[in-house]
Subunit: 233 residues, 2 copies
Amino acid sequence: MAGRTRANPLALAVLCLLYERPMHPYEMSSTLRERHKEDSIKLNYGSLYSVVESLRKRGLITARETVREGRRPERTVYAITEAGSTEMTDWLSDLLSRPAKEFTQFEAALSLMPIFGPDEVINLLETRLRSLRQQQRAHDQSNAWAPPNFPRLFLIEMEFKYALLRTEIEFVSALLDELRSGTFEGIALWRRMHELREEGRTPEAVDEVLAEEFKEELSWLSELSDTQRPEQG
Amino acid sequence: MAGRTRANPLALAVLCLLYERPMHPYEMSSTLRERHKEDSIKLNYGSLYSVVESLRKRGLITARETVREGRRPERTVYAITEAGSTEMTDWLSDLLSRPAKEFTQFEAALSLMPIFGPDEVINLLETRLRSLRQQQRAHDQSNAWAPPNFPRLFLIEMEFKYALLRTEIEFVSALLDELRSGTFEGIALWRRMHELREEGRTPEAVDEVLAEEFKEELSWLSELSDTQRPEQG
DNA sequence: TACGTAGTACTCTGAGTCGAGTAATCGGCT
DNA sequence: AGCCGATTACTCGACTCAGAGTACTACGTA
């Protein structure tokens, strides 16, 4: 049923808020911000209003009343419906119980990394690592906003984010160590290829030179069908 | 300059492919698939063709020639431009060196988790954990497609994905242990709240009962301004 | 009292996304 | 010879999203 309509978790957040009590969209956005959900759920006004409208069209929420205070713009208060409650529990159950394929920008970047030579990559990753460590320090200090005794239940998503951050730091820093020390497998071939390219050789000429200089390292090429070989590396 | 146009990494992948050699869109998609980049870069036909068209409009790639074989549809071959090469290196440098805010579905789900009671959450997370372990086993065995000696450089993004997977498994499994053993901080309050709700009490009645039964645990409430209190937990 | 800034509450627009659909060819099988 | 399913190569349109813009109020301040 709900195929693509389950793309944006902001819609789920709206359902959860209205499950608590009726609200108008702007109140939803400020509530989400107050509860620090902005950090884990992407929120912006444009999306919020269209997501709300789309939920209404699907009958998952209804417009309760429109209030006007002074000459301010009208506020439309929405409430969740039966169908909305069902969708909410179904959707959240699904998200918690079934890992979804997620694509991060950094994964994409790593997979295209070979267009740079190893030395450029070292530089770029060093910059990244500094940023990540900065974020980590910021996190360590920023329990400031949460009062003592604040329930862990409401911070659990931050713990997860932090665990991912630590993993990324470890990954990048281990990779950097290998690149800098030259123990990264195949780094000699990789470096030589970029040297040759920078000398202005044609791709074919580069392949030829490498084929001679790195016979064993390139043995895997013959194992692949023609179309399968990654020429970019 | 390139503000929102840098949203979709597929566009960057297209630039990288055309940096190797001119291609038509369908060839791009099959090349990406052969190189297993589908796992780290979201790819679908609809997006591919519009991304290509948008790159062309921005002058980052140009249509080289349109070939027709038999009565098949035309294939338009594209090549990268100077501006395209520049954009490619700028963009990839940026992705590698600057961590971007990423929002995963699971983070969103965790942050909305309190709408369920602890026992439901345990069930859902157990299902997730089985799935994740399944994925992990699949990964362990699926170096099958890569021939011996295949350069690590071309698999580095998978290593990262795997590291994230391990972290998620550890996180979920640690969380489950705490929930099941009852050592999760505040779980008694959380469980009682859902009990009361299921008995059909009004939110206000629930709050009242809890305020009496869990005085110390709720001390943090008084530290927050009215608007800041998360009523949903 | 005029002014600048922060907050409230949306609205609009154009660009991007995605899944489904189409139409042709190829290879194998019966 | 004819058919089935896979592969090649795109096209379409409905929906979604992001960011900028609007318009008003409230508040401090010089």
